[in-house]
Symmetry: D2
Subunit: 334 residues, 4 copies
Amino acid sequence: MIIVLKPDVEQNKREQLIDWLGTLGVGVHTSVGEYQTVLGLIGDTAGVDMDLIDSLDIVETVKRVSEPFKRANRKFHPEDTVVEVGDVRVGSGHFCMIAGPCSVESEDQIVAIAKAVKAAGANMLRGGAFKPRTSPYDFQGLKADGLELLRIARQETGLPIVSEIMNAADLPLFEDIDVLQVGARNMQNFDLLKELGTTKKPILLKRGLANTLRELLMSAEYIMSNGNENVILCERGIRTFGDYFRNTLDLSAVPMLHELSHLPVVVDPSHATGIARMVAPMAVAATAAGADGLLIEVHNDPPHALCDGAQSIRPEEYEKLAAKVRAVREVAVC
Amino acid sequence: MIIVLKPDVEQNKREQLIDWLGTLGVGVHTSVGEYQTVLGLIGDTAGVDMDLIDSLDIVETVKRVSEPFKRANRKFHPEDTVVEVGDVRVGSGHFCMIAGPCSVESEDQIVAIAKAVKAAGANMLRGGAFKPRTSPYDFQGLKADGLELLRIARQETGLPIVSEIMNAADLPLFEDIDVLQVGARNMQNFDLLKELGTTKKPILLKRGLANTLRELLMSAEYIMSNGNENVILCERGIRTFGDYFRNTLDLSAVPMLHELSHLPVVVDPSHATGIARMVAPMAVAATAAGADGLLIEVHNDPPHALCDGAQSIRPEEYEKLAAKVRAVREVAVC
Amino acid sequence: MIIVLKPDVEQNKREQLIDWLGTLGVGVHTSVGEYQTVLGLIGDTAGVDMDLIDSLDIVETVKRVSEPFKRANRKFHPEDTVVEVGDVRVGSGHFCMIAGPCSVESEDQIVAIAKAVKAAGANMLRGGAFKPRTSPYDFQGLKADGLELLRIARQETGLPIVSEIMNAADLPLFEDIDVLQVGARNMQNFDLLKELGTTKKPILLKRGLANTLRELLMSAEYIMSNGNENVILCERGIRTFGDYFRNTLDLSAVPMLHELSHLPVVVDPSHATGIARMVAPMAVAATAAGADGLLIEVHNDPPHALCDGAQSIRPEEYEKLAAKVRAVREVAVC
Amino acid sequence: MIIVLKPDVEQNKREQLIDWLGTLGVGVHTSVGEYQTVLGLIGDTAGVDMDLIDSLDIVETVKRVSEPFKRANRKFHPEDTVVEVGDVRVGSGHFCMIAGPCSVESEDQIVAIAKAVKAAGANMLRGGAFKPRTSPYDFQGLKADGLELLRIARQETGLPIVSEIMNAADLPLFEDIDVLQVGARNMQNFDLLKELGTTKKPILLKRGLANTLRELLMSAEYIMSNGNENVILCERGIRTFGDYFRNTLDLSAVPMLHELSHLPVVVDPSHATGIARMVAPMAVAATAAGADGLLIEVHNDPPHALCDGAQSIRPEEYEKLAAKVRAVREVAVC
């Protein structure tokens, strides 16, 4: 962190500041120039409150030089992380195709969809059992029963299963779920993240609707600093003023997250667009942007889906999409 | 909800749709016109998925006529709700002045600030014991010890205390805390909201950084539909592209929330601006806009505050602000 | 347009509204139901003020059924428009590669870059002569001299030239410029759009930083309704809260604009990201999303570019990018 | 501007950078520290491209210390500017009440409204003659005839008149208009701003829908650096994800613009909210936040207004609002 003092700051005020910085456990390297004095903070500045320093009378400006995330930072971990989910690997050239319904509704439904998406090229099955809904009057998921149906679908197809966890208290129910998803609304539910950090389970961490990339990586850091390095980042659209889409898919997040971090990055075009016929073009674009996988809602009967039917595609559409994704990967990604 | 069908829809398709709507438990009133057919849904449409209907082939457009929130809706509860916190009342002409530090740091600190803000005109004390921080490396609060210090400050001053709860598992610790605050990042932590709905405690529900007013009211609805009607809404700034402020305080939320809902609305200008010298003008403006109270960070030694010192004002500044707020209330609010 | 009246509206009020709507030149089809009355407006409703109607006492809700743009609307012009620029065609399977420096700086510079981008696969040359800069103290472009240098580069390479026009008063200077670009800041400079509508020149219309897709199409409509149908739409990033990029490239705009309109859609990943090393992945992603062309800043000496050097790539990087774009087009776009 | 170099930069690369900075006309003060080298740029850095420097290999980070605006900067002009419009003064304790219809429609209309708003406390009349409309099919204003009707209304009431100019070519028509308004969509129409800078007329400059405060001040700088210091800034709402309002009124802009600049700041709550019944609370709040004036749409027959009737209030409502504004100014603004 670099602190530039205002011109003509009295020496005793400057020394008070340096003393105080010392009490925060950081070293201070002072460059006294003709026109300005610059303080360079050395050591672990992650706990220094930039805004506070910026507000001090004698400070002209302050800037953080290094990113506040460490374990997620590519600088300290140059090789790509590969997250392993059973036999499926994600990251560093390993691409995952996660597909399934928004909500698990019945054994027939989830098993049929699981078989269909497997045949169409998926290598993981997603399905919501605990559903975060804006309205308390909307269907909230089958909960433990839904997880049980997912297990049956896994048994029938061999596909590892991904499902959202909303509450650390539910962790025992998720013991044998392969990947735990943290939804966009819980990206900064820090107590949940800390608890997930104490497991060794792969975590699929979705970016919040209005969260920056730095905040996403800081949330990954909550999980990782508690001991679990198996984090998959997920871009799923941000909230803007846009008029035709539910959210705005931010595909530039993909190459930037890859530059900042070694963690794998997948994209969810279904939630981002909210419109079934826009899923395929955005899935292909995400692939071309370098994503490590896709999370796509597939339903065998979208008009009768209990939630988010509007954004679900059918298995036959998924199959075509998967073929195109494979073709694009071959030419676009070195 | 009004559904407009595309021109020239075949009769059997129209009837299929009407049948299907019937299975959702809503009545359908059909107006067949020369150019279009309009279906009016009657009854409880809160669980009908608008996006799904909008995506159907035969549908031109769909619009929700009534708001999806019920208990929070002024239409069904025209009189202002007054939330009672000990002797303090909030709403319907009763104004609350909630003040205190971002974090509880020590007994000396919290007791000194409590006395100072009481003398300056506050009628509730706020202080964070569980702190949601973007970084896992930042100070996370004194937790149970912090709550204990707040109780001491309450004993010393008689001020009711407000503190943030991040996790339903902590509820037993909060048993005698007067007002439970739900922070912006947890506004859609629905499991937490449901649990809070099973208590009778006053809940101060902060608007999320990128949440609409409708979503805020739906989150209030989660609490209320579980049995707890003591909800105070709080505007604390939204995330925009702005350059000089941490967030953008949306004061138009105040009169609009009052129109939509009977719940009291308070404003937090400290988090919204993040800059101590901007707190007073925005506090006065919030009052003029009709807020039912203010939540303001006050610290006796901002440069040494363990968090958010940049936005904390001193007790003497708070006293001036409080006087101006009272004066504006007298002339601006009828 | 559909107007839903409130229940129990008196008949004379309803008739007054219908009479007034008649004076606006639209037909009204009334469906009186048991629970509500729905008015369907027939004819040209583009000039009816929805907000005003929505504000009337007796109106419950109002919704526009058809889009307010006509000439740009695919509904009334189902085939893709192909814009012809000399021998280059844009749209309906014809892909354009527009490349060149942010600013024209000298004859040597623009001729060298023009030759380099042509060799690398570009089929149009871009270069700014009139530069819209946030600061009046920044370089404002070589103006007429810059256009003259572009003409020389065209002569040397045969590449058609694209350059931004900021003011209708400059139109005579642009008489033989092949494509006139309207910058993001002028997307709603309606007087400029109207004047451009009176020419027959191809117009490259960039989406404004905070403009919706509907607004972009309405701006195209200003040009088209004045007689010029040669409009190329351009997505170049929108303004959000993002932290690492200048703007957020909204690639979902590509398939949606194609659905709404018959006009060609190109993408500018250079301005959107502002970072040279992010241009290639986003260019490839834009191609996969179905763009009809790319507008990319290329400079032979980015560190010495007079503007936007940070986002310019070198000719050799452009050549690699162009090869990848061609490969992706072959597999991704049917 | 402060440039922090990466650790271990070779001396010759550092010297190349310093030489190059010298060619840009700025002095460089070098602080070589044990861990890093910091370059402080001295002199006029307004033309130095921060993004470019930030993109150089050897640069760790760069930060602008001083604001890029000069003439609008309070640092170089500590006293408030007072803009004089005939007998009306704006700024530094002088409050202006600008009121009138969105569009001038007829002599009867504008004269009646002018008389009514004068009686209700307005001291300037606004009325649009050239109207920027999103749709080319909407009413575009009476143009020169509208300006003529405004002159008649001025003659009848003595109120100075404010009207929007969209095109520098129209300047001769505006010769005796008292205040020239630049609309939000033209805030970065730099050619228009430059031309207005060559007049001595008071300019009311509206903030663009997605423009930062710094950009607003840079646009003021375009006018001022061309010779016209009579600029009044206007906050009129920004574009966000909000659901109930057309725009989000950003009242924190008021105290921040006052801190950054000496120019007067007025607020337009009519366009910001788009809803007549929200105008009064937001007008009062803007006053409490320290605005130097209000721009409010008043119409004697809102349902028949040719544009923006939904947001216009009636003269009798304006009168009440004006009384409340006066009362709040007395107590809130020192």
